[in-house]
């Protein structure tokens, strides 16, 4: 058949195997295919899926496994919380996502020679730097606060905590992630997304360990205060996801000089803006005396927006950077059908770059190829 978007002769199917355009929908909508995320066609692009955004190499079966493991982890956290083990619940909440991130990286079976460098840059270095920054900020916070004595906002403190610190932290994380940009086997934008995600998670884990060390001497092992649930969710779950998503978005923007409909500069500004907004909104709500639940809702909204930003970058990069590979018989790892595919599965539309076991592994050199428009 002739693709309605790129005009090339391709095997018949719902999707063009060269440019990924949806053949049932004409025009720009078919080329953009916002209802079918290129890394996981079972989901739409503007859907804040956690694992399919941060780890786009996971296929649908693996996604379900990771989701279930995450739910099990959250169940354990809730169980600890119900037992009154607040500090334990906090540490457990902060541990869930980093553990899954390490398992993901190891499961991808990256080239053995690169593994020490990968783990050092994605795990050890951000963990140490996160702890170091956590210590520094705890020292700063002894003299500066975003809140005045009467509970109102202090402009100087707010600028420090909501602008200066988030921007510095994002710069550190991005520098770490981008240091792997030129390494072999990491040429795709989605590789940058994974690296940014893992760096963000371990940076916050380092800071969380410092936080844990600070609160342990002041809080009994067993406490009877249900309000603990709010900080556990905020600092243990939402904060790490925010950091992973913001670093992933910045990394995706700069990895290959991505040239999609969101410019790299705009994507970086949006990612940084999300982090800053997250903190400012938290401070404003707290100073207004509203329920911590409002804070969590605000934080969840910002996190969802950051995840959607990552997905848009991933989706557009997969559509734009499709390599000009020859047609070959293969089995799609998503729909599991035997197909003749080049860059996209003609049946479900999965970008073949986003298949499992392709992070940090040897593969055909990337070439500028099919265009979506």
């Amino acid at each position: 058949m002739t693709c309605r978007n790129c005009g090339l002769e391709v095997p018949s199917g719902q999707f063009c195997t060269r440019c990924g355009a949806h053949q049932g929908i004409g025009g720009d909508a078919g080329a953009r295919r916002g209802h079918r995320f290129a890394a996981n066609p079972d989901e739409a692009v503007d859907y804040p899926g956690l694992f399919s955004s941060l780890f786009p190499h996971l296929d649908s079966r693996q996604l379900n496994s990771y989701r279930l493991a995450f739910v099990v982890g959250l169940g354990i956290v809730v169980g600890l919380f119900m037992l009154g083990l607040a500090t334990s619940a906090f540490l457990a909440a902060a541990t869930v996502l980093p553990v899954l991130a390490v398992v993901f990286v190891l499961e991808q079976r990256p080239v053995r020679a690169e593994l020490p460098r990968l783990l050092g840059t994605m795990v050890a270095a951000p963990l140490a730097l996160g702890a170091f920054v956590g210590l520094l900020v705890s020292i700063v916070s002894a003299g500066i606060s975003p809140f005045r004595g009467d509970g109102g906002l202090d402009p100087g403190g707010l600028i420090t905590f909501a602008l200066a610190i988030p921007l510095a932290v994002e710069a550190i994380k991005a520098a770490l992630a981008l240091s792997l940009r030129k390494r072999p086997y990491l040429g795709e934008t989605i590789d940058g997304v994974v690296i940014g995600s893992v760096v963000g998670l371990f940076f916050t884990y380092g800071a969380a360990l410092i936080l844990f060390a600070r609160i342990v001497p002041t809080v009994d092992v067993v406490v009877d205060d249900t309000r603990w649930l709010f900080p556990i969710i905020s600092a243990g779950i939402l904060g790490p996801i925010l950091h992973a998503a913001s670093t992933a978005a910045i990394s995706a923007s700069l990895w290959r000089g991505y040239r999609g409909d969101i410019s790299p500069a705009l994507a970086v500004v949006l990612a940084l803006g999300g982090h800053v907004t997250f903190v400012i909104g938290t401070a404003v709500v707290l100073s207004s005396g509203r329920s911590p639940l409002v804070v969590l809702i605000w934080q969840a909204v910002v996190v969802a927006a950051e995840l959607i930003l990552v997905r848009r970058l991933v989706h557009r990069s997969l559509m734009e950077e499709a390599a000009a590979v020859p047609l070959a018989p293969t089995t799609c790892p998503n729909c599991r059908l035997a197909v003749d595919a080049a860059s996209f599965c003609p049946n479900c539309g999965l970008a073949m770059v986003a298949v499992p076991d392709s992070f940090g592994t040897e593969r055909a050199p990337v070439t500028e190829g099919a265009s979506s428009g």
Partner: protein, 79 residues
Amino acid sequence: MANPAMPKAPAPKRLGAVALSTIVAVALALSTVLAVAAGSLAGPRAFAPDLPAELLAAPSGDVAPLISPGAPPGGITPP
């Protein structure tokens, strides 16, 4: 195009949901042991700070200045 004559291929061997959940459970069990041990070593507390609000105010949960509206800089203060 999809070849209907060929059956769906079996999924490759990967960690399943049970194995992943077990890894997470073991990691959290270890973190719990660590947390309880650290808390026990610290001994009984002389005061109980209003920690939830302070923690929630920690900018993005990453750097943890234990601060809260109305509290002096530095955070934790005995009542």
